[in-house]
């Protein structure tokens, strides 16, 4: 099966091409069917590949020559190892479910085929990213997923907000990508190859100077920061919620934004060789986790709350990886993919039900009428909060253990506080939407079945994925690290009180949320009431966007105005002056309309004079 891993991404690509070429010819149903079938095939093969890696640990690599210069040959190919196989399954499965769900969510949109074409193209790129055997190919697909994300955020192109959000996403992630771009090039000149294998071999053979390893690792991390919405390149991700909700679920929660965490995991031997790099990853991750969680406390748009939550949870993954908790990071990536996708899809269902109402202040009391969606959403909330036996509990507990064992108590404390905040903001959301009286003016409509069953399927991993940690004798972490030479987790004995503490804090968070928002009697601050101080700071997301606007955006514009003035007035001005002189003498231009022959003669004459002068001048040197 692994021999055919290279064709996993090709099915969605084919579907995307088919849909692009005949966008207007397909009915909605057919378009959805083509795309879903392609992803289904990919998912089936991916599962087969994953099954194989359970027994064999030798990575399978395929290469084809792509471009040569001199004796250097760059290749493309496909590599299957445990991490890649796991990612293949996550990506293709979530993608398949989202494909089906979108059939209901996007019903009635005239550009259904285009939507599916983009969605398939994204799936292709993401699958291509995770099977890349070398850094350059990874970069290629890295950019492609970025562009698909851009296209899908801006899918409703006529909305000015969508346009702005798409541009912002592209530019902020591109700033991160430049870091990765430089890292790719530096690696090549250090190692002489883009292949992961060669890079890791060079590192374990101490062929690269330590400062250079740190530099490369940090630059790779810059790329991950952009893609995974880590501080300070995070602000595009909440805005990306302008895209259709299935896109938010697939790209901006479950898969693409997790690519940053995947990249750090994939390049883990490079990070592991540099303490500075690991520390940076851990601190940036922890800071982002708590930073985003506080912002999530005060947002009112259901999707934006989930987006800030995603930023925060990705911070957790980075915290794990930076604390040498390799398995913990990947574990959280896996569980997060399932419960966050579930939360987004459920949010999408609520939005559909309420005819595209996204403000939670105008929801409420949905538990009575929408018990089914309520349960689905609740499962997602419990999973992200980390209430056992839901999956988030297990992965979060491993992350905090890794942070504790890595000896950075400050980071551990940040992680614990964030766990409390997570419970608070997610249950604030839950209670405001489902409890209390109905504040909305519109009667909820029914949800089509095609949107329900993908969510039902997602509850299985959202509840059950945590038990991967309970496979006897560290089965999961042994499998993931076998043959890679990576330590599964920092050495040491995990204190037993950590899970208990996390659980208590999470419950406390739920409790506070209940006291404040749960009983339905609480009045919600409306916009007319003045919000000041901390609340204002949080709701404006610490003014990071304003800082960018005034710190970078405006100065760049001023620079362009200044340079433009220099270009127009000074550089062109001089030329125009000289040109006017010529024109006055020759009056070439006026002749052009009526006297072609004369002008031509003049031009030729000029040329001839130059030739003769040149030739005679040449004799002086002869």
């Amino acid at each position: 099966m692994s021999d055919f891993a290279w064709c996993i991404p090709l099915f969605p690509l084919l579907a995307s091409l088919l849909l692009t070429m005949g966008a207007r010819r397909y009915s909605d149903g057919v378009a959805s069917l083509i795309a879903s079938c392609a992803v289904f095939i990919s998912a089936a093969i991916s599962i087969g590949v994953l099954m194989e890696t359970l027994n064999t640990v030798v990575p399978t690599v395929h290469h084809w020559r792509w471009l040569s210069f001199g004796d250097q040959s760059i290749t493309v190919g496909a590599e299957v190892n445990q991490l890649n196989a796991l990612m293949l399954v996550i990506v293709s499965l979530v993608s398949f479910l989202v494909h089906r769900y979108a059939r209901g969510y996007m019903a009635g949109d005239r550009r259904m085929a285009t939507f599916y074409a983009y969605l398939s193209l994204f799936t292709f790129s993401m699958l291509g990213l995770v099977i890349s055997p070398n850094l350059l190919q990874l970069y290629v697909f890295w950019e492609l997923v970025g562009v698909c994300s851009f296209l899908l955020i801006g899918f409703w192109f006529y909305k000015p907000e969508a346009k702005r959000a798409a541009r912002k996403a592209f530019i902020l992630t591109r700033i991160g990508d430049v870091g990765l771009f430089i890292a790719v090039i530096l690696t090549f000149w250090q190692v002489g190859s883009f292949e992961w294998e060669a890079i890791f071999a060079a590192i374990s053979a101490n062929k690269i100077p330590p400062e250079m390893i740190t530099l490369i690792a940090l630059l790779i991390f810059v790329g991950a920061v952009g893609k995974s919405g880590q501080f300070p390149l995070h602000s595009w991700l909440p805005d990306a919620m302008e895209g259709p909700t299935p896109v938010s679920a697939l790209i901006h929660a479950a898969t693409m934004v997790a690519a940053g965490a995947y990249l750090v995991a994939r390049a883990f031997p490079i990070f592991a060789a540099s303490d500075v790099a690991l520390g940076t990853v851990a601190y940036v991750g922890a800071f982002t986790a708590i930073f985003a969680a506080t912002i999530g406390l005060v947002q009112n748009d259901i999707k934006r709350i989930l987006a800030w939550s995603t930023v925060s949870q990705l911070g957790y993954m980075m915290l794990a990886l930076g604390s040498s908790g390799y398995v913990a990071g990947i574990f959280h990536l896996t569980t997060h993919a399932s419960f966050k996708a579930l939360l987004f899809l459920a949010a999408g269902a609520i939005i559909t039900m309420l005819h595209h109402e996204q403000d939670i202040r105008r929801m409420g009391g949905l538990w009575k009428s929408q018990r089914r969606i309520g349960w689905l959403f609740l499962i997602g909330c419990l999973a992200i909060t980390g209430i056992p036996p839901f999956s988030g509990f297990f992965s979060k507990e491993e992350i905090l253990t890794a942070a504790w064992l890595s000896g950075r108590v400050d980071l551990f404390l940040v992680g614990v506080v964030t766990a409390f905040l997570t419970a608070l903001y997610i249950f604030r959301l839950f209670f405001l939407v489902f409890m209390g009286e109905e504040r909305g003016k519109i009667a909820p409509s029914q949800i089509p079945r095609v949107m329900i069953w993908p969510m039902v399927l997602l509850t299985i991993p959202a509840i059950g994925a945590g038990f991967l940690a309970w496979i006897p004798a560290h089965g999961f972490s042994d499998w993931l690290t076998k043959g890679t030479g990576i330590l599964a987790a920092p050495q040491g004995e995990a204190p037993g009180w950590i899970p208990l503490l996390t659980l208590l804090l999470s419950l406390a968070g739920v409790g506070v949320a209940w006291l404040r928002y749960g009983r339905g009697a609480v009045t919600i601050p409306s916009q007319s009431q003045s919000v000041t101080g901390i609340h204002h700071l949080l709701s404006r997301a610490y003014f990071v966007d304003d800082l960018y606007r005034w710190g970078i955006g405006k100065p760049y514009r001023w620079l362009s105005i200044l340079l433009s003035w220099v270009d127009q007035q000074i550089i062109s001005g001089i030329v125009s002056g000289v040109g006017a002189l010529f024109q006055a003498g020759g009056r070439i231009g006026s002749r052009m309309q009526n006297g072609q022959a004369q002008t031509y003669a003049l031009v030729s004459l000029l040329g001839l004079v130059i030739v003769i002068v040149g030739l005679t001048a040449g004799r002086w040197f002869g």
Binding site: G70, Q72, G154, Y158, I185, W189, Y556
Partner: protein, 502 residues
Amino acid sequence: MWLSGMLFSPLIGVVVLLCLPRKRGQLHRVMGLFGTLPPLLLAFYIAFQYNIQQGGIQFREHLPWFSIPLGQGQSWEFAYQLGVDGLSLSLIIMTVIITALAAIASFVIKKREKGYFLLFLLLEVGVLGVFCARNLFLFFIFFEITLVTMFFLVGIWGQVNRERAANQFLLYNGVGSALMLLGFIGIQSLFQTMDMDQLLGIMSNQQMMLALAHNEMAQRVLMGSFVCIVLAFAIKLPIFPFHTWMVKVHTEAPPAVVMIHSGILLKMGAYGLIRFGVELFPAQVKEIAFILAILGLINLLVGAVLAFKQTELRRILAYSSVSHMGIILFGIASLNLSGLTGAVFQTVSHGFISALLFFYIGRLYERTRTTDITELGGLAAPMPVMTGILLIGGLALLGLPGMSGFISEFLAFLGLFHTQPTIAVIGTMGLVFAAVYTLRAVLTIGYGPTEPRWQKLTDARWTELIPMLTMVGGILLIGIWPAVLGDPIQSTLTQIVARIGG
């Protein structure tokens, strides 16, 4: 004789056009298009016959032409010498494809069609000659043909300020060719030949160069010639601050002519820099590598910042061309194989990308009568396919992987990081700047709410779609399978790098 045949085959169209009656506009247009087909077919035939394994100059032609007696039995011999290698062949293929598509774009020309297509085909002869010539004097003649024909194409068929643009074009390029001629004559006087192959032999001959090193006058002439030649091609490329003429031509010339101007003619500057700068003067180029890198950096960043300020789509693309020529300079300045490969990739890639975008501009202008982005908006609603093409062109412009622009940027930066890492690091800002100005243009035109006056625009017809998809195909082919261009140019570039010596 295949090369001569290919090179002069546009003249078939010229002769037929001359025989046609004056008033039949449509006939002239069709004939103009047919006139570009013989070189297209012959160029592809030659490309398939070219032996990549063997490499080097093939299809040589050599005829004595005239001589200037100098007295004492001595004389200067001039010869008609042609030949192509992988480098020139790649540019020839690009030229014949873009010219044929530009002929289709020229169907909107509604005034003095006969003269237009006569000049158009003569221009093609000039360009093909530039890429085929193996003799400096012959190269100069063909270069002048492109100047004169272009001068009239801009000056007669351009927009309102066409005459100013044409004059500025002539002014700059006249100075450029004078410098070039001066440089060539310097070479002639030193080595008594303008034969490229002989010159290459002389310049890599150690004893000969040592003998020269003791002659101060000769040294000065050699360096002077080199500087003249570099300056001449710097104006053509163009290198900042010699770009004013090129922005004017971008804005004033008819879009079909800009396809050729931006797609092909600017590339003669890049070709000249590589062929006569780097290949002929390896030792001297080494000395100015740092300056070239700095100039590349200025082009790259200043061009991108200026592109951000413009509101006229043509000017945005003009400054974007300035910025992209910076990548070519980066590639050349790195003086290693990956860098030079990147420079050649950028030459071909940018040819297709800017031709595609100016084809789009031509079609857009036919519909809206404006290409000012502040007046446009939301065009994706009435014209999804056209806007899709614009989007693809824009993504190619900002160097999205999977498209040709990425390969060239990546290789050029890869090369420069090895030799001038500091400049390269600063240069990577250009990647972000490119995204900023490209997205600004593409999103402003395509996205957002649609004004009522644009709601009735018609989407692309098949006759427009096929040329555009051809160029998209070229962009994707190079982006996905770069070896298709990388393999043919390798032997030439390897030799050039060997001459530089590492």
